[in-house]
Symmetry: C2
Subunit: 395 residues, 2 copies
Amino acid sequence: MTSLQYFQTPFPTKPSRTNLNKQKTNIKVNNVSTVLPSTLVGNASGRKVFRTTRHDASASMMTDFDYVEEILPSGRPNIPTKKQLVDPVRQGVITEGGVGYKQTVVIRSYEVGADKTATLESILNLLQETALNHVWVSGLLGNGFGATHGMVRNKLIWVVTRMQLQVDQYPIWGEVMEVETWVGASGRHGMRRDWLLRSLATGQVYACATSTWVMMNQDTRRLSKMPEEVRAEISPWFIEKKHSTPEKIMKLGNNAKYINHSLKPKRSDLDMNHHVNNVKYVGWMLETIPEVFLESHQLTSITLQYRRECGSSDTVQSLCEPDDEDGILMERTEEESCINVCHENSVQVEVLQDKPVKFPLSYTHLLQITGELKIEEIVRGRTTWKRNSSTLPTL
Amino acid sequence: MTSLQYFQTPFPTKPSRTNLNKQKTNIKVNNVSTVLPSTLVGNASGRKVFRTTRHDASASMMTDFDYVEEILPSGRPNIPTKKQLVDPVRQGVITEGGVGYKQTVVIRSYEVGADKTATLESILNLLQETALNHVWVSGLLGNGFGATHGMVRNKLIWVVTRMQLQVDQYPIWGEVMEVETWVGASGRHGMRRDWLLRSLATGQVYACATSTWVMMNQDTRRLSKMPEEVRAEISPWFIEKKHSTPEKIMKLGNNAKYINHSLKPKRSDLDMNHHVNNVKYVGWMLETIPEVFLESHQLTSITLQYRRECGSSDTVQSLCEPDDEDGILMERTEEESCINVCHENSVQVEVLQDKPVKFPLSYTHLLQITGELKIEEIVRGRTTWKRNSSTLPTL
């Protein structure tokens, strides 16, 4: 059985026999960087266990911890079966006294749009990625998309029922960010997952998000209660924090102002759970908003309430309705020649091509499956927007 | 002026005043990990210069090098203006005696398809990302999409004219890969860029790629000669390696077997150069191949020859023609009821739903802009395929 490993240094090369047992781990906890050698303490059945001593300055103590690396005979990585306090290749570390997780990410060239800021889809992808890496390092991950060993035994998968994201500032290309995530209980059978996205250089919070998850049987596709063995696995990781009440989103009718018909999922839109990935939904929603609005505005928040999953053979309709905040922001002329801009409780009037134009600042969204027999809701959404600072008129 | 910084440890947190001058750099070169303290040797105009000593075992010598971190007053990162031998946050390091670059990447959850292997688009994205990071750490990057300072002064951008990728094995979700890249001359006015994608655990090469780039004036959108000042910047980075001759790709006519009409770029398809990103083209090409073929096959190579750029207002047509290798592989019945599978020089016959089916193993592709006045080629392509091992029939 081949048993290779990853290195804990930032710039690893192919391992040589001579240095397998001379690992060093560079850990930074509570602003004190401590580099101490690891010792290989076990090596059996494709597992390598290194013991490392961590110096935790805030607690003024030295703690031993194991970093376990598992490689399959094929050379492919195995999912850790034991909690990892650090994951050097993922640039991740356990936080919140042992139950949270944070990870350093650099905003990549293909994660930004033409304006060089990260796209909303990229941010949502990074949230998903860090959530899954949290489960990965926890040692709980079964052979699924975030599913624990107990969930795999019960043929259960996670499905998201609600996602709420607020973006105050979009990171730019090359910016180094830190994504922190943690989980908590949501009712008796659900789980809440929260995130913070911070600038690593300044600590400034750019975005925060919260979400609710429940379990679904992967064969019957029906929602399930949380089995006791799964509760025993995940509840020690729960953190209780006070949260805002989820807002209700009204259901749009078929008379919505903007409708995209006949959207078809592509092969590449399916994720490991074999349904359309949540992030794809957001793309469909945003594409339904008029181009002229998207060009001059930036999304500041999005709320999604999921109703059912969407498969590869479904045909989807995306509906979108701008807000009519007390009749001030919306004036429904056919030409949409007049758009007002509400900015921080004031109403601003902008002249575009010699015509005054009115803009709403919120949209309600609905994605639904249009089948032969009936129409079924996939997800309801709300988005709020602010004017791009570069195009904000000076009054 | 605010002057903050990134940390060179894998798990950075917000910097505190007390540890700004106590940096440690963990470098791994030629299989010897050396951790030595860095010293702050300069701190002016938003720049922090750390001097670190590297122990290079193969050369049995100690070398000093500087790791320069630049932060804008806004707290946003600045592009380095000096060559960086290591980039801890990007997990990158200069190779090839100072002119190549390699980077560790973990295959992320949203970079894989339903089968948990990295998609072709993800691999192409990672090649782009490491190429740009190579320019980033070189200190040559101007304020553009890989453009050097000299290119920015001359209003030039890079455009790709050819890209060739061979994939022997697709990395899976969570797999830790190493992408290595380097550049060379291509004729008098072009640049070649090559890549290798390796498993970090085993060193096995999964994919390799080569590409050719020329310069374009960003205003006139016309190709340009390489100015001498740009040659002086980039030619010291050139490595000469022997390369295969690019294959010619025939131009498809409008009688191609499969045609996708009326493809429209979306806002999110545009990159920092304000044209449709190359990776998007590949998506359009592959979507034109019949679903039944994609489900049972894996791409093993792709060659792209770019003719002109595609803007956001263009309407695109994707044409695709399967090979008819000596009449063995293709039988053009309307129902396509009979598909043969050629696998490693043998012809295999598979029965799908009680019908024998014939499959070609190569496709020729063409993307073209269908304007009112004329049709213009964007890119020609060739793809080759092998049968998925999981669906390979036993004969």
